[in-house]
Amino acid sequence: MTNIIEINNLVKRYKNIVALDHLNLEIKEGEIFGLLGPNGSGKTTSINCILSLLNYDKGEILVFGKPLNPDSYESKRNIGVVFQNVAVFDKLSVYENIDYFCGLYIKDKKERKILVNEAIDFVELNEYRKMKPKQLSGGLLRRLNIACGIAHKPKLILMDEPTVAVDPQSRNQILEGIKKLNKNGSTIIYTSHYMEEVEQICTRIAIIDHGRCIALGSKEKLKGMINIGEKITVETIALSDEQLKQIKELENIFDVNYDGEILKIASTRAAQNLVNMLNYLQKNDIQFGKVYTELPTLNDVFLELTGKELRD
């Protein structure tokens, strides 16, 4: 697969703050590429540098194999952007907004009309097409924001946290829509600090912190980078210190937390972890309620790599 975007050794400083610290990324055609990181990690700065909106101090960015400048109109024709902040005209209706932005890419009137209607269908705003942005709810406004960015069916779509402040129903619709766009041939770069979203839709993920890419790969590959293989949670009361010590000494278990009601165990990757745990509880006549296991999440990956929660 060819690279749609190549970022080499990118450095961006805001006065004394290093926003991007020698960032290297390659985004391949056909991917849904996730940029995952907490607020202030450099996701939006990366996007703005790619779009040549921001000056950067060092490094190189190639889009479709060429540097993208403010007047690279041919390359820009194949790019769609969904910004973090809603970027529409307040005084134009839903239809007028989409028609205007689509018209900046597509000159043919008939073709544009078809594309605008398809975009309205895609974000399910048909019954709101005559409404002004101020009359729309937060979720509908986000959908309009997306429609304005993708109506011209670009080859590359950059989405910068498009689901911020969106209700769960709208969020699911948006995520499903992104998958559909990808199926229709668009390469997508998706930034978010919601790991669930990134896990749900992205084929490859870069975890960014302090402007550096600290991990890169598919979600399976990222999860394989850490020690946690399984998390076991047990509802139980009155465990003694001695019992906790014995649990910690069980095979494959490397971390135990207990708050008097909930026992949380982190274990390495192995087939018998849960069975071993239940055997120990029964053997020692320890009463317990619910028991459940979880596979590691990207948050666990982030936690292990950086020592802090993703939403810090």
Binding site: L53, P70, D71, V81, F83
Partner: protein
């Protein structure tokens, strides 16, 4: 381009604040001006000034002067000193002269009436001094000098070489039209706020589209000039309905409005692209610039333009408000089109320069932060 024009137009005319400041506010100001000095708008509506005369010495030549202009510029009535004070206090008279060996004038405050009475007295004193001087040095020329004085008139008008006159108060309206033209800079700044990526998300989105920046600026410019040109035509019609003499034919007035509109919008665009502050800050700058230029052109004080002409004539030569105001003045007063043409040419040249600078700044713009 057509699509950009259409939606830029719709977006702008639906924006209440822009419509108010550029369309409605000048109309309100024109109404206030009319209510303030509507009676003095045109010279043919001049009313004689009610004047008291306190005679303490009846052999003064000044009494003859007053008698000669009584009913034309002033209406005189004789009082004793106390009654004159009372009459002035009640507003029955606008001022009174005390005629003794020296002539003195009492007026309550400055104003048109006070200026007229003061002008009469100073003219008389100047003539007396002149006569005394002629008697002392050239007595043989006295008859000729008196004949010349007899022919001279006391007036409050500016009189041009072509003999056309213009009321000082009309100049307030000319400055108002100039100010309204410059208010086009709100439109220009508003447009730039929606183009520049560091000012609005909308600017970011437009910056990443494959549309040539010149096209974006031009479509915004054409839209806003059209809207503002319409605003100005409405203002001109309204001012004409108020009875203000604007001079010139309708074609020339439309040329002034168009030149003023393009200059005002281009000025706003230049402010928008060159000032690296927030949108609200830029709006404040636009207001300050238009008010300052209008002040220098005589919006708040009619004599200001003259003061600037004496102290720093270059300012009047480049100040768009002064140039716009001057086009109306020259249309009214002068037969020749030379001054009018020069004013319009400078306005248009400034517009081209401002647009080019705006385009150069915006064309390849990347930002240090957004």
């Amino acid at each position: 381009m057509k699509l950009s024009l259409k939606y830029s137009f719709l977006n702008t005319i639906r924006e209440f604040s822009v419509t108010f400041w550029c369309g409605v506010f000048p109309l309100i100001l024109a109404t206030l001006f009319y209510l303030s000095f509507g009676a003095y708008l045109n010279n043919d509506e001049f009313e004689p000034v009610n004047t008291g005369v306190v005679i303490e010495s009846s052999d003064s030549e000044f009494l003859e002067v007053l008698e000669s202009i009584d009913g034309e510029y002033i209406n005189t009535k004789e009082y004793n000193l106390d009654d004159a004070k009372d009459a002035l206090g009640k507003g029955d008279i606008n001022g009174y002269y005390i005629v003794s060996e020296d002539i003195s004038l009492k007026v309550p405050s400055e104003g048109v009436s006070a200026s007229i009475l003061s002008g009469i007295l100073s003219s008389y004193e100047k003539n007396i001094t002149l006569i005394k001087d002629i008697l002392a040095n050239n007595p043989e020329n006295l008859d000729e000098a008196l004949a010349a004085m007899e022919g001279s008139e006391i007036g409050v008008n500016d009189v041009s070489l072509s003999g056309k006159v213009i009321s000082v108060n009309n100049q307030f309206f000319y400055a108002l039209i100039a100010m309204a033209c410059l208010y086009g800079n709100f439109l220009g700044t508003f447009a730039i706020n929606n183009i520049q990526a560091d000012l609005s998300p909308l600017g970011m989105r437009r910056s990443v589209t494959p549309t040539h920046k010149m096209q974006v600026i031009l479509s915004e410019f054409i839209t806003n000039v059209s809207i503002h040109f319409f605003n100005l035509i409405v203002l001109i019609i309204y001012i004409k309905l108020l009875g203000v003499v604007l001079g010139g034919n309708i074609g020339l007035i439309l040329i002034v409005c168009l030149a003023g509109a393009v200059n005002g919008v281009a000025l706003g665009m230049l402010i928008g692209v060159s000032c690296k502050k927030s949108a609200n800050f830029k709006t404040g700058i636009s207001l300050a610039v238009s008010m300052s230029l209008s002040f220098l052109a005589g919006l708040m004080f009619a004599g200001m333009k003259g003061v600037v002409q004496v102290k720093a004539p270059i300012v009047n030569l480049i100040n768009p408000a002064a140039l716009i105001s001057d086009t109306f003045y020259s249309m009214t007063v002068f037969d020749s089109m030379e001054r009018f043409t020069m004013d319009i040419a400078i306005l248009l040249a400034e517009t081209v320069v401002m647009l080019l600078i705006s385009f150069i700044i915006v064309r390849r713009e990347r930002y240090d932060s957004i």
